[in-house]
């Protein structure tokens, strides 16, 4: 489903990623953890073609992403649910219109849009907020809508970059729980986070990045001890 082979990304002298190998199978749920600047966002951007690697090869859903021409990238993205780190809803559109907009942009006709928006809002538990504008939503609700928008086209792979940033612990868990449910229905999910509590609680595969290198990769794990050793938790 996703494979990286000897992938490096350099910004000038700075190595954001260094010789990364990673394999994610269909149906997996993967946490990508690491401190700020470890390279999580960089790795995720590579998957949806927002960034070209300096070196190495990347396959996503059978497509070699590093070889795609700009013209070919939309075809790949239509099969991906993408939630980048900063991906606000369109402020002048309601919740409903935000999702309808995404679907219309990829050619859904009106009745298909109506049907799908209703389904997907029900899926994330936001049906009663359809007529709200983004500034009338809480952070968690807005994130649910962003997830709804990302899964609207039924992507087999969902990529979320720190979807729980700026959310309180309870809401963070609700969001992760939603992603786990989506995963249970067959969607492969890759989520980056540095939220220790949710990683510990979810017990899924955890890939730890540190300064551009993968330092551990454990199935059904909690927050990696390697990271704790490198960056001991600050006692409150």
């Amino acid at each position: 489903m996703v494979e990286l082979r000897k992938v490096s990304v350099e910004y000038g002298e700075h190595h954001a990623l260094h010789q990364v190998d990673l394999l994610v199978e269909r149906g997996e749920f993967v946490f990508l953890v690491g401190t700020t600047g470890a390279g999580k966002s960089t790795l995720l951007k590579l998957l949806y073609g927002a960034l070209k690697p300096t070196e190495g090869r990347i396959w996503v859903l059978g497509t070699e992403v590093n070889r795609l021409k700009p013209r070919e990238i939309p075809t790949l993205r239509r099969q991906l649910g993408i939630i980048p780190q900063d991906y606000p809803l369109l402020p002048r559109k309601t919740v409903w219109e935000n999702i309808a907009y995404a679907l219309s942009a990829i050619g859904y006709n009106e009745s298909a849009v109506r049907q799908r928006v209703a389904q997907v809002l029900a899926r994330v538990g936001m049906s009663d907020r359809a007529r709200y504008y983004p500034d009338q939503l809480s952070g968690g609700e807005a994130q649910r809508v962003a997830i709804a928008r990302a899964i609207a086209n039924r992507p087999p792979l969902l990529i979320a970059d720190e979807p729980t940033a700026n959310l309180d612990p309870e809401t963070s868990w609700e969001i992760i729980d939603l992603l786990l449910q989506i995963n249970l229905r067959g969607t492969t999910v890759i989520v980056s986070t540095h939220n220790r509590a949710i990683v510990d609680r979810a017990r899924q595969r955890v890939v730890a990045l540190d300064r551009g290198r993968i330092i551990s990769d454990v199935p059904h794990a909690g927050y990696p001890v390697e990271l704790d050793r490198l960056y001991p938790p600050i006692p409150l």
Partner: protein, 291 residues
């Protein structure tokens, strides 16, 4: 298909509405530029027509040798008429020329008793003014011809003036069009900038580059086209007023050839505007709307 068209149109409409002030600025700049294009174009057209018309009045006078007979004159006339460049040839018999000359100078001197000093003369016009010099050169080779006065210098000056007018006009037009191009480009760039959130959503959900760029290109087409339409109207109204006024002042201007037909202006200015608007918007979209 219909859903897709509706989406594109909605996006275009939103783009046009997003910054009404900017749109007005852009449309009016396109309008001003195209008005000037229209004005320069019309002036050029008129001047060109005048320049084309003027040399027609220059005819070559071919003076035959004094000893040439009337038969030889008629023979030469027939020969000249056979040349493909020659439009018409008139024979002015020496008796007639002398009579006219006497009449013209009658109040000053009495020429009645003098012998006729004039030779027979042929007056010749070519189809195109610039064919005149070459034809004159050939006629000079004729044994019966004494002298050919071809107004070469005057003609050269008129043609040079026409060339100059054309050159200045064309460079003014290209300068104005360039500024219109840059302005529309910039407005579309700013619209793209103000709609980057939408562009980003489209890019991330996998909308095609065509879907992402077309609304901005349509925006440019609308700006240029509207500018051209308003411009054409202004030019026509203005030209009407000015020509009424100048005709009052100088009625002889009525004899000038007619200007550009209004329908041509009403089609070509908006068309030109839309074309230019579409091209620069496409250029901006290509640069700033990326996946």
């Amino acid at each position: 298909m219909i859903a897709r068209l509706r989406f594109l149109w909605n996006e275009t409409w939103q783009a046009l509405r997003r910054n009404p002030l900017l749109q007005v600025a852009s449309i009016s700049t396109a309008c001003v530029a195209l008005v000037l294009v229209g004005v320069v174009g019309m002036t050029l057209y008129k001047l060109d027509a005048v320049a084309q018309m003027l040399p027609k009045q220059f005819e070559t006078e071919v003076f035959l040798k004094f000893e040439a007979t009337r038969e030889q004159a008629l023979e030469l006339k027939a020969k000249l008429e056979a040349m493909p460049e020659v439009a018409r040839v008139t024979l002015v018999p020496r008796e007639q020329a002398w009579a006219e000359e006497q009449a013209r100078l009658a109040s000053e001197i009495n020429l009645k008793d003098l012998p006729n000093p004039l030779p027979d003369k042929l007056v010749l016009a070519t189809h195109q003014p610039d064919q005149l010099p070459a034809v004159a050169e050939r006629i000079r080779q004729e044994p019966t011809v004494d002298e050919v006065i071809d107004q070469r210098e005057t003609l050269r000056q008129v043609l040079a003036t026409a060339r100059l007018v054309r050159m200045v006009g064309l460079s003014a037009i290209s300068l104005l069009l360039l500024s219109a191009i840059l302005l529309i480009y910039n407005t579309v760039r700013l619209t793209i900038y103000s709609r980057q959130r939408e562009v980003r959503v489209m890019a991330l959900v996998g909308a095609s580059l065509f879907t992402m760029r077309t609304p901005f290109i349509l925006e440019g087409i609308v700006q240029g086209g509207l500018g051209g339409l308003v411009g054409a109207t202004l030019v026509l109204v203005g030209a009407g007023l000015i020509s009424d006024y100048t005709l009052q002042l100088w009625p002889f201007l009525r004899d000038l050839p007619p200007g550009l037909p209004p329908s041509l202006l009403l089609v070509s200015l908006p068309g030109l505007g839309a074309l230019i608007g579409g091209l620069c918007a496409g250029w901006a979209a290509q640069r700033f709307v990326r996946v």
